[in-house]
């Protein structure tokens, strides 16, 4: 790690999701030195947990493959995984970041052969699947993980498992003495791309996410479609593993609500429309999808997709914020109570499963930024002179869909380049 060269002409990218990767690539591909700081063991971020993108219904890994190839081929980019910026000092053209790197216990020798995983017994919650499934204590985060290098979970360190793993590795790739490291890195500009996290559905008490088995969140539902996900690609409900054909999607689950997130998270309507196609594709005419909404926010060309879904007779739209959900104790079905406000129709609808279209919350809490930034009430970074050489990319700037996040990231790369170019001129 000590061999990392960072100067005031270096661009620091905080967050290795699709926004961070994009910003890093754009800058590096015109010759700028870029360091990417990623908290988790693999770059890729949220999109690696998505099954499909709207409105094309194509696969996120497709673009990831290209971006990962671009990154691997580019010597100007240094990626630090399991790393966090704990402190950030200075101003435009002259920042110093303190970066904490947690031990991975696996070094660059790793060939991802998987021998360690095969001997480790401990199984731990798999965050890649929102803890809906387990993975080994020695693991590759997912099929597309980059770097393609295993990780030893801290939980198994100083257990037999750790020793077994070490013994199983033919390449001396496992280093159980690895310690947490702290680095100080210089940077001329910073692209802040820490992205979003799903709003905690349990906080929406009327919907009983914490009390009713068959009420799940949209991000969990998304994982169900992945053949390598927690349900092996099956749409089944948690309570009894029964196929969920009659599914309700509840929009604004946590968004547009002073009790939770004040803002509109933008993506949730499209995400539910997309997910409704999962159900109709899997079950055809047996599919029965209901979407409870306040406004369907399928803006610009996305509206064509909305029109397409609307044409499907198996998808119903109900203008209503569901009042509450109770469980039918006999069959475990969630029962939704509310009023369809288009003409006042009261309902108590029973479904196999309910998917809460949870909102987007900035990953970093308002008060947890390592340096003072101009934020709005919602906790997104405002584009403001006051932020000096720090530029928000993607969902750190606003609730954005992937397409707009990448736009934002491309723009932030140029903003960062402007700063380091000024530095370069000054330094001659």
């Amino acid at each position: 790690m000590s061999d990392i060269v960072a100067t005031n002409q270096t661009i620091l990218v905080v967050g290795g999701g699709i926004s961070g990767m994009t910003a890093a690539l754009e800058a590096a591909e015109i010759g700028k030195q870029v360091i990417v700081i990623e908290k988790s063991p693999s770059i890729g971020g949220r999109v690696t947990r998505l099954y499909k993108y709207f409105p094309k219904l194509c696969f996120p890994t497709c673009g990831q493959e290209i971006n990962q190839r671009r990154m691997a081929a580019n010597p100007n980019i240094t990626v630090l995984t399991m790393a966090e910026v704990t402190d950030l000092q200075g101003d435009a053209g002259n920042y110093t970041a303190t970066v904490k790197i947690s031990p991975r216990y696996v070094n660059a020798n790793c060939t991802a052969c998987g021998d360690c995983a095969s001997v480790v017994e401990a199984e731990l919650d798999d965050p890649h699947n929102y803890n809906m499934s387990k993975h080994k204590g020695a693991y590759l985060p997912h099929n597309m993980a980059m770097p393609k290098r295993y990780v030893l979970a801290p939980e198994i360190i100083a257990t037999d498992d750790a020793e077994k793993a070490k013994a199983a590795c033919k390449f001396d790739a496992i280093d159980l003495d690895m310690q947490e490291e702290t680095l100080e890195l210089k940077a001329g500009a910073v692209v802040w791309a820490t992205g979003w996290r799903p709003f905690d559905a349990a906080k929406i008490q009327p919907y009983g996410y914490d009390r009713i088995d068959n009420v799940i969140s949209s991000v969990e539902f998304e994982r169900m479609m992945d053949p390598f996900g927690p349900t092996g690609g099956k749409l089944v409900r948690p309570s009894d593993g029964k196929e969920a054909k009659n599914i309700a999607f509840i929009q604004c689950a946590g968004s547009r609500d002073r009790n939770y997130l004040k803002h509109c998270s933008r993506i949730c309507c499209m995400a539910s429309l997309k997910q409704s196609t999962y159900v109709t594709e899997k079950f055809g005419d047996e599919a029965d999808v209901s979407i409870y909404y306040i406004d369907i926010r399928a803006i610009d060309r996305f509206d064509n997709f909305y029109q397409r879904v609307k044409e499907n007779p198996n998808v119903t739209f109900i203008k209503s914020k569901v009042a509450n959900i109770v469980e039918n104790k006999k069959n475990g079905n969630p029962v939704l109570n509310g009023v369809n406000v288009e003409g006042y129709h009261r309902y108590a609808n029973e479904h196999d499963m309910v998917v809460l279209a949870v909102g987007m919350q900035p990953s970093v809490d308002k008060n947890a930024f390592p340096i003072e930034l101009k934020l709005n009430d919602e906790g997104f970074i405002e584009s403001d002179e006051a932020n000096g050489g720090i530029f928000a990319a993607g969902c750190s700037a606003d609730a954005l869909d992937v397409n707009r996040a990448v736009q934002s990231a491309t723009a932030s790369a140029l903003k960062a380049i402007q700063v380091v170019n000024r530095v370069a001129q000054a330094e001659g």
Binding site: I18, E26, E29, G31, Y51, Y53, K56, C58, F59, C62, G63, E65, I66, R69, A73, N109, T111, C113, N143, M144, K148, F171, D226, P227, F228, K262, H263, C264, S265, R266, D295, R297, A298, I299, D300, R301, D303, N304, Q307, V341, E342, N376, D377, E382, S383, D384, D398, A399, N403, R404, V406, Q407, A409, T410, A411, L414, I417, Q418, N421, Q425
Partner: protein, 751 residues
Amino acid sequence: MADEKKIAVEKKIGAYICNGCGIGERLDSSQLETTAKRDGKAAICQQHDFLCSEAGVKMIQDDIDNEGVNRVVIAACSRRAKTEAFAFKDVVVIRSNLREGVIWVRPDEDDQRETTQEMADDYIRMGCAEAKYANIPSASGQQSVNKNILIAGGGISGMTAALEASKAGYPCTIVEKSSALGGATAQLYKKIPTRAPYADPEDTGVDAMIAAVEADSNITVFLNSTLTNTAGAPGRFTADISTESGSTETKEFGAIVQASGFTPYDANNLPEFAYGKNKDVVTQMELEALAKTANGGAIKRPSDGKEVSSVLFIQCAGQRSTKAGHLEHCSGYCCSASIKEAMYFKDQNTAIDTTVLYTDLRTPGAGGENFYRSGQNKGVIFTKGIASEVVDGANPTVKFKDLILDEDVSMEVDLVVLATGMVANAGQPTRAEITLSENEAKEAGTEYKVSVESILNLDYRQGKDVPHMTNGFADSHFICFPYETQRTGIYTAGPTRRPMDTRQAMDDATGAAMKAISEAENAGLGKAAHPRVADLSFPSFRQEGCTQCKRCTVECPFGAINETEDGYPEFNESRCRRCGTCMGACPVRVISFENYSIDTVGQQLKAVDIPDEFDEKPRILVLACENDAYPALDMAAQNRLEYSAFTRIIPVRCLGSVSLSWITDSMNSGYDGVILMGCPSGDDYQCHFVKGSAMAQERMSKVGDTLETLSLEKERVQTYEISITDIQKVPQLINEMAETIEKIGMSPFKF
């Protein structure tokens, strides 16, 4: 030129066999070594227990430095693994995939050892064959870096692109059709807020921006000017900038940003709303004019100058509708725009009734929802309903269905504002589209004329402008790559790309400027643009062999290839994305890349050892797209999914680059089956080269006949659309082919 190179350089193959990750245990590496030397003609062959380790890499580097090895064959893991470790400079690096390609997809059983070993031997032979025919690509030297950025359009998007590029040190030239900078935004009284608390309309800031542009010595502005001809390629665009007066200046540019904006939808298409009939029915844009005149005072209506005391906004006027003459899309910004305009009234006099008639109120994000709330707080009334008609009269009366109260009502107001949408100024359709319309016109006995003016007047064989996408916008089709147009080095920004408001347009233009800068820099170095970023190879052709059939010029997904006066293809490599679709299209096989050619693949499939018919060991050739199908096969191996030991896989840049000759050659040399794996095509195509996979499928549809002439069964050649996520599907498809062969029997063409 390319050929000379081949002769010039003496090729020395070094093959390096890794024994790590179980390869050593599962395979007989000494035999692999023999194969490399005997069949692969490798001058040097070494083994290592841990090839990707520092020691292993050094071993190879030493041979490159001291033994003159310039063709390195790495017989280890997949080309997708350990790329950094094996990134040797100035040599050809070939990966023979013994791990993901062999041992991970075959069971570790004694009775399988023989076939598994054969697999590995073949991959060594294939690697060496490719190494023999591949050359080290280098830029043609035709380019030089030109940092000048051409910006078509002087609206908020164009000016932003210019200012941001200039701040990064890149000179810009703005070509603006009208007599002033500012575009649509200049016609606004105020703009939708761009910063917290997102509660009130903001000054447009256009004047300040124009001043900044004029003050910037790095920015040249041409007013009353259009682009009458744009030729060349990234790094060497030449543009004729013509003024109304007729004078023309020709300038050179590295890249282009097209920020030609939008035209407001023509409300005359909405007679049902009495537009044109009743003066007090106006569009949002026209209301901006009224507000400008009022300049903070009471807004007066057009008909009689009466101060407006009640106004109703009809959202989605002529939008989100499949009705003839309407726009199918949602313009995204109109909801916020109506809130803003309603505030013009409320901020001036709270007593004015302002009603917004909407079906879905679309104010996304933090700013959007705050602005909506602020509108309500100021007393703007939002009614969910659908307007059916505006009745003409002293005051217009709006008839609508209130969807909440579920009743048909009508409301008389002083002024009606129609939220009509955006129509992109995206220039002319592609030549192909025009020809289509021309033919239709002919059939109808009428004459077809292109009504829209071109923006760029590209001197490209495939048309004068950037091809359009959804709803006539020059948008990218790719979610992960929003700026990728089908014209390399030309990036669209603002409402010509997709509908958007001022704030989004400024972000968008900044990103487009970034892309333009990047392309100007990289084209200058002869490096390819997305997705084969930094690839130095480019297509060249043997003129003497060319029959001038023009297929390459027609089929190139990026319109990269022009025709010279004497009818030969002109490749314009910096317009080229290196997909090889031209190579696949060429019936006479004269097009090739230094490191990717008819031979680099053709010789691989010939290098495979074909046992004779009675060995009952069929051979299945898989040509897999390197972007999606090959990674899927890789990940199948990663998950230890097995497939037939008779498979031999060759990655291709794009299925569009597959030459029919490879299929016929493989059939002739006794392969029993061939599988082509490309990306899904169609409206939601996933092909990174737009229509490469579609092209391939079209060509393959004709392969059946070829097979018949060879009296071979059609089933022997299959083309599949594979997504990168089809990890479980790909082994199945291969095994199905194996079964098919068992059914229909071995190919008779084994010698």
